[in-house]
């Protein structure tokens, strides 16, 4: 066990996979010579050379298409999209090709492609560079979408993603890169499609993923110390496939649920979770499911406005306060 950052965990997982399987290679803008915009790929060009760590031109549709082709022919590309905001240019390659080739060509060639990309706001990068678009991909059959919140899960899920034979969107978050956590040294993996109860509780369940799962855990711990509220936190870790069993079991226990997400509220992950819960745990619900999400505006540049628009610990605490049953207060 060592305490490392989320960034380090990703880096280590990439390096391990490059060492483990010679078919694995990296592609992306500025990942080689510049060592990555967020330094995830630092040192890898030097160690593995330009055939394994490929700097690409600024054309997402081109290199995601190229990676898809490489995957069809048996390589295992790991593409870095600098932030999720640029992924729009490669939508056609991802949704129309990578997600469908295995199906449309009679299962002849799987697409073992990983697209790593950070989302999230709060860095004063303004409206076009601060988005959370994971739900677009979680909507598409043929893709898998994972969104770890801790260094340990990041490492385990990245390994699983590289070894999976389907295209995986691996969602990172700008504000998580420096977060530290204990990480096992062995070659462990975290299964795709498995959520995790990161804190047990009995009064209310908070369901979240990526950075907000970390915030939720923080808030839950604080509330337990201060107010003796017992908040259960479920970190989804994977958005597609979604682990129904874990969230349903949690809500069967607490009877009340909040979905806490950084993306916009309408048609979001929260909507999907709420629908799932009412389908599978209707008789266990004691209150409508709450969605705590960011305001539905293009994210402002101004620091104070940005803070006002993004959801966070404060909004979650208010929601928990509203939702916690009277007798448990």
């Amino acid at each position: 066990m060592a305490e490392i950052t989320y960034r380090q965990a990703l880096h280590d997982a990439l390096r391990d996979e490059l060492l483990r399987d010679e078919n694995v290679f990296l592609m992306g803008e500025e990942i080689g010579v510049f060592e990555g915009s967020y330094k995830i790929t630092a040192g890898l060009l030097k160690e593995f050379g330009p055939k394994r760590v490929v700097d690409t031109p600024i054309c997402e549709n081109g290199f995601v298409g190229m990676a898809t082709g490489a995957a069809m022919l048996g390589l295992r590309p790991i593409v870095e999209i600098m932030t999720i905001n640029f992924i729009m240019l490669a939508m056609d390659e991802i949704v129309n090709h990578a997600a469908k080739i295995y199906y449309m060509f009679g299962g002849q060639c799987p697409i073992p492609l990983v697209i790593r990309t950070p989302g999230g706001g709060g860095q004063q990068l303004s409206a076009t560079h601060s988005q959370n678009l994971e739900v677009w991909f979680a909507h598409v059959p043929g893709l898998k979408v994972v969104a770890p919140s801790t260094p340990a899960d990041a490492k385990g899920l990245l390994r699983s993603s590289v070894r999976d034979n389907n295209p995986v969107i691996f969602l990172e978050n700008l504000a998580l890169y420096n977060v530290k956590g204990e990480v096992d040294e062995g070659d462990y993996t975290v299964p795709i499609g498995s959520a995790k109860v990161t804190k047990e509780g009995k009064d209310v369940t908070v369901i979240s993923y990526s950075r907000m799962a970390a915030v939720a855990l923080d808030v839950a711990r604080r509330l337990e110390e201060e107010n003796k509220l017992s908040v259960e936190v479920v970190d989804l870790r994977s958005l597609r496939p979604l682990d129904h069993e874990t969230i349903v079991n949690s809500v069967k226990k607490t009877n009340r649920a909040i979905v806490f997400e950084e993306d916009w509220r309408s048609f979001g992950i929260g909507a999907e979770i709420a629908a799932t819960l009412q389908e599978e745990a209707f008789d266990f619900l004691d209150a409508p499911i709450k969605r705590v999400a960011s305001l539905e505006v293009p994210l402002p540049y101004s620091k104070s406005l940005e803070r006002a628009a993004l959801t966070g610990a404060k909004q979650l605490m208010e929601a928990i306060d509203e939702l916690t049953p009277r007798r448990r207060r």
């Binding site: 009877n255 209707f282 008789d283 266990f284 619900l285 004691d286 209150a287 049953p325 009277r326 007798r327």
Partner: protein
Amino acid sequence: MSEVNMPRLSDTMQEGTISRWLKKQGDEIKKGDILAEIETDKATMELEAYDAGILEEILVQEGETVPIGQVVAKIGNGSATQKKVPPAATQRGSKAEAAPNGDKTEKGDAVPAQVDEPQKESTGTQRKGAGTEESNGKGIETEESIVQSKSTGREESGSRSESAGREESDGSRMVKASPLARHMAEEHGIDLHQLQGTGPGGRIVRDDIEDYLEQQEKTPAATPAKASAPTTPAQELPVPTSAPSSLPTDTEAIPLSRVQTIIARRLAESKQTIPHFYVSSEVDMTDALAMRQALNASAGDEGIKVSVNDLIVKACALALEKFPEVNSSFKDGQFLRHKQIHIGIAVDVPSGLVVPVIRDANIKGVRSIARESKALIEKARANKLSPNDLEGGTFSVSNLGMMDVTDFIAVINPPQAAILAVASTRKHFVPIDGQPVIRDLMSMTMSSDHRIIYGATVAHFLQEVKRLLQSPYNVLG
């Protein structure tokens, strides 16, 4: 004030006849009470109250037929039954649509009923004036109200607010409770009407149930008495809604399920109101059993096995063809003689007793009957019977033969006129040509409605059943 509409009870139903009101004006109604029996093109079914309150007005009398959606009665807080409708005063605004909105604003139970009453009444009369076009336009009972309340965008009171929340000062509106609270209430046999919700908008939540249970533990005797005393109409069969207080500790009170409540009511009603009389007969089943054995042997392992009951059903159906007066009902002082012969078979299920129906049994072969009854029994045991499976019987057979009974008497399944109770087949010595011979004898007893059938008819009918079963190849015809 909530309106009770003629419900759509089957896909093909266009209109329904109120065959009988089970409640009268001024009666206190609980949610789920059966208000009336409705005769449709298919069957007689029950009209259930979706709201609690006082049955203020019966707008469609027994025997009258109205299209679906039409208002047949009104449930309110009772003041309208004492006070007569003040004329005119259309303060509510001229459009009918104004009414729901107007009501919505006054959500509080604090609104004094007295002040509000004339206004509501005027809305009522107006609605009546607007007449059928409104009720037709309304489509089918609550579906319309769901749409309406949604479109006015009121989240809190949910889908029923329109139909239920019309008269809110009287507690007649639907109880708002979380799914969990409903679940818990059901588990503990708590009537949600007794509770005051403390959740958002007065919703009953887990907290309230837990409060109630705690309180009940502390004062086991006082609470239920206080809560339920004023609401139980005397003539209703008592349906326990909360843990009875005065039971000895070694006795457990088990609340009746919905089905059991209906069974209890209908059977009591049958035995109390129908003048039953009984005629028994003994049938020599030796040949029938031999024929059945031959039939089943020839069907092979995979084939459908014909049961003794299937032969009896077929024999009854053929006998009913010959004696159509047995295949009839007594309703509203008249004979209803049914042309089709649909035979109900009593099936024992965990929740009580159900009587699914084999249609046109007289024109079906015994194998078809066997196949159908097998399927119906399986569905019954799995609690999967549809209303369609249960509708429309014109005669019933109840068979306890497999359970070694010498004899028994069944209660008529209304509105049918008769039911045949079939006991076990047993070996007896029978004198034949002065010699004792072992034969398989089966006893059967028919219970009949003496208002429409008489002893001789039943005797002839049973003779025919007996004749058919004793020369059993007749039932194959």
